[in-house]
Amino acid sequence: MTSTTSGSRSAGRLALAVLFWLAVWQVASLAIAQDLLLVSPLEVIATLAAQLGTAPFWSAVGYSFLRIVAGFLLALLAAVLLAAAAGASQVVRTLLAPLVLTIRSVPVVSFIILVLIWASSGSLSIVISFLIALPVIYTNVLEGIDQRDGKLLEMAHVFRVPLLRRWRAIDVPAVMPYLQSGSRTAIGLAWKSGIAAEVIGLPQGSIGEQLYQSKIFLSTAELFSWTLVIVLLAFTFEKLFLTALRRTALALGGT
């Protein structure tokens, strides 16, 4: 009851903050009075409402959403498996270190150009969101593995606790906060880089292509409206994913 009340209060404060910044935006757009430079929020909402009833809008949303989310989920799976292997073997950890550092340091545009040379633009946002999310999640999960309680691991070793039971009782609870934190960061980066890749590679029917066309036709309202859609998609997916992750952790938490 208390946490629900506190949660509602916090959501209320957030809504007020959003309203405040929308008001600032509206006033700024009225002051500038040039739609090409800064369209008003009301205009953006009107444009978005008009887009919502069209098939190409939903097709573009589905196209980009599926690819970016697929890239993220593949990165999550690969990162967890690789971090588990690195946690268990110093050789694997050493072998992966330069690879992860390289992926993390290479500019995203270099990857985009390489993927466009090696593969079709249709797979571009999957590969890019995968490559951007992978090192973030890997590093976080490995940190969680390193932070497990050594005394508890010794206890499990002495009592010969079966691996699956040890994993549920000791490993998952220790790693989960790091996985949640890494996933939150990785989801934001996957969306930003995935859409950026689409704007450069212009896969047909993607959100990136729509953004590019907004720029070509100097349609600031559409540019803002698509940006709003991207923010909402990333926000909604992040909330749904983290809730699912939390529930999975709770379900796994007992023995």
Binding site: L152, E154, V158, R165, G253
Partner: protein, 196 residues
Amino acid sequence: MEISGLTKRFGTTSVLDHLNLTLPDGVTTVIMGPSGSGKTTLANILLGLLPRDAGTVTGLAGARLAAVFQEDRLCEHLSAVANVRLVLDDGAHRQRPDAVRAELAAVGLAGEDLTKPVAQLSGGQRRRVAIVRAMMAHADLTVLDEPFKGLDEETKDRVMGHVRDRLAGRTALLITHDPVEAARFDGPHVSLGGPR
């Protein structure tokens, strides 16, 4: 179980120096000694947590082990029942936890103390969970390192009686610095000297 010539050094300090010791089957051997005499070092070597510098331990290869460590070493988010079930054999783990509840009740834990996370229990209650965990684990050697530390006198008396009953017929090593605790156990009493 035979320990011969067991030696362990930390830097230039020799904590165990050519220790010879027999742990008779089915009996609780009591190890006493002042701080720094190597009691916990001996326990950690027997539990496979610390390498020895010299000496042999026969009869330990492949043995199932159980322990009450100096620290409770409980999974904080799990209940008392879940912490005990964690170490049970597969067969016992699959059964309803009635036996675990009964054992916890025997040391004075009942009601919601059995089901809430152990992080919410008092120090003495957590200690009793750690003791029951070791008593219920299937083991060829049970090592208890200052197991009654942190228990109030009344609880300690009850828990010591329970532990003595549960260890009857089992091979065990009880480490304590308290002569009153040591006197409650009938097996051989061994004193370790100070650090050298």
